[in-house]
Point group: C2
Chain length 259, copies 2
């Protein structure tokens, strides 16, 4: 990279550091450095050097088995000031109550680009709660109830960008027709909730409502996943709406969503 | 930096990016770029360039007010694979139960260098739960009950490094004599818990127990903060121990701590 100018080299370096951090996920919580290089698509010697620097900074940690993993310093930097963590901390006690009442998976999500990022998924205490594959995962925004709620509140240019992008079915029931999705976004705004049946898993329905933050802007979506049986959606909507208002109040919303 | 070799420039860049992220904390969740430069001690033009790159990568976000804040991407990278998040997710439901039973602040902490890093602090639902100044904060390890528990289980070289460093009193009651601290570490190992009175706040006592993870290594400390009244420590110790065993089991410890 001798001929590359300083600015480009810099950009590459930070982008590469992020690609290294991205190499780790729930299925790969720790990796040998050679595997990091492969997954990040960075030459092995460069990866060794960058990993060593990231370990020095605490963003990665080296285990006794010579594998590396994401460091607690990453969590600290992400948690000390972020709105994501405030939102999650505010929402979790209310989600516990909702989960106790409806006894179904409950989820908290935000819009990140064209995708929904799940900040929290609640199940009963036990194996599933510990399973972090369910936290920090993503779904295409057009394809799930949380995404419809978040897109319905997003600026028109965001909606149109998403609807103009390639829309791939997750199941045979996922709606991918832009005109029909536009109609569903209008209906979501009008009704104050979104319900989709079999869009993500053929046997499950998602029901989502918006959470309002300060200034009454929509900051997140609260959803439950229920079986595809008749008459299951209607009873959870008021519980979702009540819980979303509680979370919004904890976040400093001046009023809840109005119908 | 024209004369600086590539390796050094690289190191500086990553370290500077981390210093920029460190500029944000609970009291400064969003900052104008000029304030970031001042807090990170980096020249303003360099800070503008680095902030722009970090925004492009999603590690920082720019608000409509031209202030920047830590991005949700930081949380995602920190959460998708980290042991910290698994530990926190496993512990929180048990901490809720403990908090409901003892009705005192309950805390989850790990050892980070010579300090205790609090992964979670629980209070009653309301203002305090949302207050993230309490999450991701640190205390010197020698000066609090969680630190004694974690140091008591740490390798001797870590203990001696901490005891050889300058030990500053947080209150007039903080013990800073290495010989007395060594005695307390031995007592903590023997009793299976640590209790300190007025070391962090003059009117409060901390009581902490270890949490064991896979392989029965101590991975964290669970603690409660109680008023400095006679007879308040004894009743919380069994509750702490029972809760710590539950968390350990959820983490995959094969047995709880044995007396």
């Amino acid at each position: 990279m001798g001929g590359v100018d300083d600015g480009t080299a810099r950009e590459n370096l930070l982008a590469r550091a992020v690609r290294i951090l991205e190499a780790f996920d729930a299925d790969h919580p720790s990796l040998p450095v050679a595997a990091v290089a492969r997954r990040a698509d960075i030459p092995v010697p460069t990866t060794y050097r960058l990993v060593a620097e990231l370990v020095d900074l605490g963003l990665l940690e080296r285990g006794s088995d010579r594998r590396v993993r994401v460091g607690v310093r990453m969590w600290e930097l992400a948690s000390r000031s972020s709105e994501t963590v405030s939102l999650r901390d505010a929402a979790i006690p209310f989600m516990d109550d909702l989960h106790a009442a409806v006894r179904q998976h409950t989820q908290l999500a935000v819009l990140e680009g064209d995708e929904v990022l799940y900040l929290e998924r609640k199940s009963a205490r036990g194996a599933e709660v510990v399973n972090i594959t369910r936290t920090a995962s993503r779904l295409p925004a057009f394809a799930c109830s949380s995404g419809l709620v978040l897109l319905a509140a997003a600026p028109v240019d965001v909606q149109e960008r998403v609807l103009a992008s390639p829309l791939e079915k997750l199941t045979p029931y996922t709606v991918t027709d832009p005109a029909e999705l536009r109609r569903q976004l209008a209906e979501t705004r009008y009704r104050g909730f979104a319900a989709v049946r079999g869009w993500v898993h053929v046997q499950a329905s998602g029901v989502a409502v918006p959470i309002h933050g300060p200034g009454d802007q929509v900051v997140a979506a609260l959803s439950v996943i229920i079986p595809n049986e008749e008459g299951r959606v209607a009873p959870v909507v008021p519980a979702l709406m009540a819980t979303a208002r509680g979370i919004g109040r904890a976040l400093g919303a001046t009023a809840g969503p109005t119908a």
